[in-house]
């Protein structure tokens, strides 16, 4: 149940006194409550849990993590895998 899915905000609006938005999950668009991510704007990625955005995804952090791993992979491809010395 604590599953959260990242989606992209495509629209924001007010409804019933709440900050709401339309969030696109790779083609499927759902209404989402954005009250807990007041700083979020159209184009941002948010993690959605039971119809609420609970976190704004940090692009910098996402890129940093992937870059390190891709760099290791490039090196391994160039040098061949590090021998397991155990």
């Amino acid at each position: 149940m604590c599953l959260g899915v990242p989606g992209k905000i495509v629209e924001t609006y007010q409804a019933g006194g709440l900050k709401m938005g339309k969030v696109d999950f790779g083609g499927v668009v759902r209404e989402t409550c954005l009250e807990y991510v007041p700083q979020a704007e159209v184009g941002d990625y948010v993690v959605i849990h039971v119809g609420f955005a609970i976190s704004l995804v940090s692009e910098e952090e996402a890129q940093a993590t992937l870059e390190i791993l891709r760099e290791i992979m490039r090196l391994e491809e160039e040098l061949g895998p590090e021998p397991d010395t155990r």
Binding site: M1, C2, L3, G4, V5, P6, K8, G16, G17, L18, F25, G26, C33, E35, Y36, V37, P38, Y45, V47, H49, V50, G51, F52, I54, S55, V57, S58, E59, E61, A62, A64, T65, L66, L69, R70, I72, M73, E76, P81, E82, D84, R86
Partner: protein, 369 residues
């Protein structure tokens, strides 16, 4: 899908798995707290890709599994009332109470509806002013902000026919119970990423220090999970025990402040019983006095229920990492998803359900031989 696909890239996963292989020198037992992670681990076969030194045990982070039987029985009693529309996340419908489940209540005429979000339940209450709408508010820290918002929203709309049956639990008190047990085997934790998205991980450094265990905030995709395992293993091998974040694109140290504020406004800490485990002090949230009118337990007179648990079910020990599903004599025999004896067999986050679905019938196979 962005922020998903990259984290399922098999080549990148293998880079991290190589890292784990190069790091590990002796056996370690890690616990993933969240049942969502348990399912991801078993579904992607991560447990089988890891070096044999690393054993994963499965934690209590399955809200459906730990919701106490008494409360399931209360939900059945409330849902059976003719004036009630009982709303719930779909997972709860097949959870066995003492004698029945919500699914059967619906089959015999109860108005039980599955909702995706608690705000949907509020909408149903708006549309049905002459009915009582009750929402089954179970969950960990992740689900508390949505449930709290539904109460605040119902209040601001002036709804008199909305209430919630609360069974909120919190992760850190359960970690204390697991680590404090004389039988504990857990040497490091993968902390639940989405619990931490809401709460941050400022509660964890004291736990890491007190018990000498690394705690690594971990996400849900295969790459996130192996990364969490790598960081925990590295700490263990280096003799460190710190609270670290392997899910920084989603989790910050402070967590989601607006969400924490609303939780605090609506809920207060209380002792809470966990199914199969027992009462854990200060491990739950209940509605504050100011919101008592939204408390389904007060609105419906369902106090004196004597629950009756299956004597075969060892889910409580599984949820504390002391046993595995195939250690249960009923697993796959008397207990299946179609005829569950315990909640852990029906929940999409239950370890028994994961082992059954993905064919980890080790004990069952041995019996057949």
């Amino acid at each position: 899908m962005k922020h998903v696909t990259e984290y399922r890239d098999a080549d990148l996963v293998h880079v991290v798995l190589d890292g784990i292989r190069q790091t590990v020198t002796k056996p370690w037992v890690l616990m993933e707290i969240c049942g969502g992670q348990t399912h991801a681990i078993v579904r992607h076969g991560i447990d089988q890709l890891l070096p044999t030194e690393i054993e994963l045990v499965h934690g209590p982070g399955c809200p459906v599994c730990v919701t106490p039987l008494e409360l399931i029985d209360k939900s059945l009693a409330i849902a059976s009332c003719t004036e009630v529309i009982f709303t719930s996340y779909g997972d709860m419908l097949r959870v066995p109470g003492s004698g029945s489940d919500l699914f059967s209540v619906r089959a015999s005429g109860g108005d039980v509806r599955v909702v995706y979000s608690p705000l949907d339940a509020v909408k149903i209450a708006q549309q049905n002013p002459d009915r009582e709408v009750v929402f089954f508010a179970i969950g960990f820290e992740t689900t508390a902000p949505p449930n709290a918002m539904s109460v605040v929203q119902a209040q601001s709309l002036g709804l008199k026919n909305y209430s919630i049956l609360v069974s909120h639990v919190r992760v850190p008190p359960a970690m204390h119970v697991i680590l404090g047990s004389p039988h504990n085997r857990v040497q490091g934790f993968l902390a639940a990423g989405h619990v931490c998205a809401v709460m941050g991980y400022w509660e964890y450094p004291p736990i890491a220090e007190k018990y000498g265990v690394p705690i690594v905030v971990t996400g849900f995709e295969p790459l996130d999970i192996v990364q969490g395992i790598l960081q925990a293993t590295r700490q263990l091998e280096e003799g460190r025990c710190e609270a670290e974040n392997a899910y920084p694109r989603v989790v910050t140290f402070e967590g989601n402040r607006p969400a924490q504020k609303l939780i605090e406004r609506v809920f207060e800490p209380c002792d809470r019983k966990w199914r199969g485990i027992g009462t854990i002090p200060d491990s739950g949230w209940r509605l504050r006095q100011e919101f008592a009118e939204f408390d389904a337990e007060l609105r419906f007179d369902v106090e004196a229920i004597q629950p009756d648990e299956s004597p075969l079910c060892i889910a409580g020990q599984i949820l504390q990492g002391l046993k595995k599903p195939h250690d249960c004599s009923a697993f796959g025999v008397k207990c299946t998803p179609e005829n569950p004896l315990g909640a852990t067999m029906v929940s999409s986050e239950g370890a028994c359900a994961a082992y059954y679905r993905y064919g980890r019938h080790v004990a069952g196979q041995k019996q057949e031989e």
